[in-house]
């Protein structure tokens, strides 16, 4: 060590505090003006880098701008509960409702059969529920077919929402891993 000048990487490692042979380097520096100058030169470069490596600053109102873009009150959990907000949920809902309405007007019997089938399938409890439901709907002047269409539309939206949530959550987890 004492006979050879320090290599560039030894000088840098010494100044970074990561050199494995620091005592030997120090001993060499004590007797070598050339390598002392090299270390001093890098020391000055380091000092320059500590200030000159600062890039341009963000806007003074940066934090305000970020806060203005936060999606929903209630923190991230609210975000997770509303994964489709602003990302096409209304388009999904409108599309599903349109399809349901089209079927309702084109072939009402389809909904009627489906509604009847849902409650007549088995058991006295279901029949009792069917009677009660039919009574409520009649008093509200809502046809069983329309009611069934609305329910199925809501289920469809919920299913799409659930699928998209799972896909997005998985994508985010992979991306951050």
């Amino acid at each position: 060590m004492t006979d050879q000048h320090l290599r560039d990487e030894q000088v840098q490692a010494f100044l970074d505090g990561t050199a494995v042979d620091s005592p030997a380097i120090e001993a060499h520096l004590a007797s070598c003006p050339r390598c002392r100058a090299a270390v001093e030169g890098y020391r000055r470069l380091y000092a320059g880098l500590a200030t000159a490596s600062e890039p341009a600053a963000l806007s003074v109102d940066f934090a305000d701008r970020v806060m203005a873009r936060l999606p929903e009150p209630g923190g991230f959990r609210a975000q997770l509960r509303r994964p489709l907000a602003g990302e096409g949920i209304f388009a999904f809902a409108a599309f599903a409702a349109l399809v349901a309405a089209a079927i309702f007007f084109i072939k009402p019997s389809l909904w009627h059969d489906l509604f009847q089938g849902l409650f007549k399938s088995s058991g006295s409890t279901n029949q009792q529920v069917a009677k009660t439901a039919a009574g409520v709907l009649e008093s509200l002047k809502i046809s069983p077919e329309l009611f069934t269409a609305v329910i199925l539309t809501i289920i469809a939206i919920g299913l799409i929402d659930w699928i998209v949530t799972r896909r997005r959550t998985h994508h985010t987890a992979v991306h951050l891993a």
Partner: protein, 188 residues
């Protein structure tokens, strides 16, 4: 419970002011990464905002297996990589030397580094840093300005510690050599 745990918990409970604190504590680090990784342009600050929106959306997944700032910096770096990939911008252009770069002679006392301390060449050094490839100038900034360790930088940039060290050494040597050329060129 540490300050970090408490801050994260407050945010998860819906305290937006706590999130503002998180932004203010980490915006400088995020800007260092984004501004170093991306070329000059108006979309850099927008990307910084996107980073914090991602932090907000994914904070529930943070498991405290690293410092919160390191986790945020990792998201910032990922966002930059995505952005660069979309724009098809290079990460390693214009280094002016590779692994087989010849070992330069040991610096002499003339060193251009010396004039860095004299002030007038600070702008020169800044310009030379800007000329470095994105990965190199990011590493230089995180090490010298944010005072992160090789290990922390490696976690953020998903590179082995040895690679970070190697890139850092090469970047500094390149800066030294370029300053030497500039300095000698300006001498009468």
């Amino acid at each position: 419970m540490t300050d970090q745990h408490e801050l994260v918990q407050r945010i998860l409970d819906g305290d937006k002011q706590a999130f503002r604190i998180l932004v203010e504590q980490n915006q400088r680090l995020v800007s260092h990464i984004v501004f170093r990784m991306l070329p000059d342009g108006p979309d850099r600050e927008d990307l910084c905002q996107e980073v914090f929106l991602k932090v907000y959306q994914n904070l529930g997944r943070f498991r405290f297996d690293a410092k919160l700032s390191t986790w945020i910096a990792t998201i910032a770096h990922n966002c930059c990589l995505d952005h660069l990939a979309k724009k098809r911008l290079p990460l390693y252009d214009d280094l002016g030397g590779g692994e087989d770069m010849p070992e330069p002679e040991a610096p002499e006392s003339y060193s251009p580094e010396r004039i860095v301390a004299e002030g007038e060449t600070a702008a020169l050094l800044r310009r030379e840093i800007d000329r470095l490839p994105p990965v190199y100038k990011t590493i230089v900034t995180l090490f010298h300005l944010d005072e992160l360790s090789y290990d922390e930088i490696g976690r953020i940039m998903k590179m082995p510690e040895g690679t970070i060290k190697s890139y850092l050494f090469r970047a500094r040597r390149l800066l030294k050599d370029r300053l030497a050329v500039q300095f000698q060129g300006e001498k009468p």
